[in-house]
């Protein structure tokens, strides 16, 4: 993985001291609340319901065991012994004291980490495919480009105060696991007809209040122009994006208002001036960064092992875990393991200090000391030998990290919601709990199969509800929590935004309502169809009728009375 050199280290060290001084000036009354807010946000520090919340960047989700141990240490020393993995592959601490944040940043800097631009109206942490580097369907490893973008965007002077936040995702695979199409800028590594690898560039996607699917602005961009083209897009946005209304300030609104053709013209015009400037990316730098993502030294004989098959045949629980939580790897004899942070009794995405320490030991032993956070709030151990799967599984079971539910109903994406977030309209964690309590029969979950439930506690959509097969959005109706359901969303290649099912559901009935939706699916599915496939075939009506039967009856009565 990427190792800081003296320049990278210096910038995070200097940032720690800069923020220490900003915090001091704030506490001394030299900076007003309004003046300090953007500064602390640009360092991932929110003021939340109970305490500040600190969001730490995990660039493209990748962590070493040393970094993971530090994250555990921070949670113990400054917080309540746990952290929360966010949908942007970052980690959040819910209880640090403001005065201690500079010390936390210093601890992070000691392991080449930071919280720079993890919030604020600037370019945020760049996310990617959690299987980057090990996926079989990869054109090229996207992480070197994420790292180059990370460096380019860090303290970019022109784009420090954009109209609104700005999110990048980069994928190098044919299967989009990084929700590229719902980002402000999405990049796919693709091969053109000449056989060269470059980028397909999308712009203006995003969730939030107005969900929009990104549009292709350029089919093929040469790698050497990556930075200049990004700079052209950002400059057009910085100049012309709306600043009068924060709900209309994202780039998607600008792209929709101008139209993608016109917007593309503006970008190309801007780009024509800067494409051969100092922004031209040196191949030497690409090579330098790529070399740091070279694959580890895999064991050539890994596939020769037979113990794995023996365990599979003799241990059902192990086999069930392998079936759901173990994924293919481009190297024969290796697998990528998903560590489930979705055990029934914990808030989705939470991980304790003890678990983090143990995971750090396990990746030292089994995964070349690397682990990856995922946007669906789990971890991946990217390089596990098949012979090691069984002992690894046993260790994960001990830590309650082996729930065999990846991709199933209880592998819920869930934002912090009302329990922690000051913007929330409704709780998300209690709903996740309710769902886990109702659907606690593993056989039933396996029968239902692949389904993505995504939940946000307000319109900001941190839980990506629009792109859940079932989306759940918390709303507040006169002080009471209600939940609006959407069906049929997807963030993958077949991207779509969910359709609204109908009026909000009472809090107590959310899990029961999901049960009704699943009943419809089970009754109507054909052969191996997934929930999403059935939904796309039969449409929303059968689901509506099941959930709101009385109202439909009344509507029919009213309708017939009109005749």
């Amino acid at each position: 993985m990427y190792q800081y050199d003296k320049y990278d280290q210096k910038i995070v060290d200097e940032r720690v001291e800069q923020f220490r001084d900003q915090t001091r000036r704030y506490l001394a009354g030299e900076l007003s609340e309004d003046e300090f807010r953007p500064l602390r946000l640009m360092n991932g520090l929110y003021i939340q319901t109970h305490a500040p919340m600190l969001r730490v960047d995990i660039p493209y989700g990748l962590l070493s065991s040393r970094q993971l141990r530090m994250l555990a240490h921070i949670s113990r020393k400054y917080d309540k012994c746990y952290g929360h993995i966010s949908t942007r592959q970052n980690i959040q601490y819910n209880w640090p004291k403001l005065e201690t944040v500079p010390d936390i940043l210093a601890d992070l800097a000691s392991v080449q980490m930071h919280a720079i631009q993890s919030s604020g109206n600037c370019i945020r942490n760049i996310t990617s495919d959690q299987f980057a580097g090990v996926a079989e369907d990869e054109v090229e490893d996207p992480r070197p480009y994420c790292e180059i973008l990370r460096q380019w965007s860090t303290f970019h002077p022109e784009f420090a105060y954009l109209p609104r936040k700005f999110k990048f995702a980069v994928s190098g695979a044919t299967h989009d696991r990084a929700a590229v199409q719902v980002h402000d800028i999405g990049l796919y590594l693709v091969r053109n007809e000449a056989g060269e690898v470059g980028f397909k560039v999308l712009v203006g996607g995003g969730l939030g209040r107005t969900p929009v699917i990104g549009k292709v602005i350029r089919e093929f961009l040469e790698k050497k122009h990556m930075l200049s083209y990004m700079e052209a897009i950002l400059r057009v946005y910085n100049r012309f994006g709306r600043r009068d209304n924060i709900y209309k300030a994202r780039i998607k609104i600008l792209v929709n208002a101008t139209g993608i053709e016109k917007f593309a013209e503006m970008v190309e015009a801007e780009w024509s001036y800067i494409k051969d400037s100092a922004l031209l990316l040196d191949q030497k730098e690409i090579d330098r960064v790529r070399a740091q993502f070279a694959p580890p030294e895999y064991d050539k004989d890994a596939a020769a092992d037979s113990t794995f098959d023996d365990h599979l045949a003799s241990n059902q629980a192990f086999a069930a875990w392998v079936d759901r939580n173990v994924k293919t790897h481009k190297v024969s004899g290796y697998r990528a393991v998903v560590v489930s942070l979705k055990a029934p009794t914990i808030a989705p995405g939470d991980v304790t200090d003890v678990q983090m320490d143990r995971l750090a030991d396990l990746i030292d032993e089994y995964s070349f000391s690397e682990i990856v956070t995922t946007h669906d709030q789990n971890f991946i151990m990217p390089h596990v030998k098949q012979a090691d799967l069984f002992p690894l599984w046993e260790s994960l079971v001990e830590q309650d990290l082996a729930t065999p539910n990846i991709g199933l109903l209880t592998d819920i994406i869930c934002c912090p919601g009302l329990d922690f977030c000051s913007l929330a309209n409704a709780g998300s964690i209690p709903i996740a709990k309710q769902i886990n309590e109702k659907f606690n029969d593993m056989d039933y979950l396996h029968d239902i199969g692949d389904i993505k439930i995504k939940m946000s506690g307000c319109m900001n959509a941190c839980g990506h509800h629009h792109v859940g097969h079932i989306g759940i959005l918390g709303v507040d109706k006169k002080g009471v929590e209600f939940y609006q359901l959407t069906l049929g969303g997807s963030a993958e290649n077949d991207v779509s935004l969910g359709d609204r099912l109908g009026r909000g559901i009472e809090k107590e009935k959310v899990a029961d309502t999901i049960g009704q939706l699943l009943d419809v699916y089970v009754e109507q599915r054909e052969e191996q169809e997934s929930f999403l496939e059935t939904y796309r075939r039969i449409g929303i009506e059968p689901f509506k009728e099941r959930v709101y039967p009385k109202k439909n009856l009344e509507e029919k009565v009213v309708a017939s009375a009109n005749y």
Partner: protein, 162 residues
């Protein structure tokens, strides 16, 4: 009045007019007028024998300003709020695309913690908001010494030194 220029606190004699009424008589000496006023009063302004500056805000098109750029000794960029980042792009464009050699001055809601960014975008003088301490603000220029990306300050991306 004192301002920060080239990273030092200096005395300054430019007089800036935010609004100018039709019958107002402008004093002698170096003046900064709104860009819109320049557009309407070019002739008169060109006859003065003092230095001339214009002030632009986020809504002004840099392309328009660039057409008359040879007449300006100073261009002031107004930050109506320190969180309004449009002037950063204006500054970059004026320096890099239109090769403006005169003084680029930040005015308005200009605070210490943005000076680093402003300076990197080619702004070389700063009229700090009145209630702020200028001595203290000078620290802003030395806090971060590594520049990952090229910008209008002429810095090369740090990777060139690697």
């Amino acid at each position: 009045m004192q301002i920060i220029k080239d990273k030092k606190i200096v005395d300054d004699n430019w007089q800036r007019f935010v609004e100018i009424t039709a019958d107002e008589i402008l004093p002698t000496g170096d003046i900064i007028v709104p860009f819109a006023y320049w557009l309407d009063n070019k002739k008169v302004l060109l006859q003065r024998d003092s230095r001339l500056g214009v002030c632009i805000d986020g809504d002004d098109e840099t392309e328009e300003v660039a057409k008359d750029i040879e007449h300006f000794d100073l261009i002031a960029l107004d930050f109506p709020a320190f969180t309004d980042g449009r002037a950063y792009s204006h500054a970059c464009l004026l320096r890099e695309r239109y090769h403006f050699q005169g003084e680029l001055r930040a005015v308005g809601d200009v605070l210490r913690d943005q000076l680093f960014y402003m300076q990197r975008c080619g702004i070389d003088s700063f009229q700090l908001r009145e209630d702020k301490d200028m001595e203290d603000a000078l620290n802003a220029f030395t806090e971060i010494s590594v520049k990952y990306q090229s910008a209008a300050d002429g810095a090369e991306p740090v990777y060139k030194y690697r």
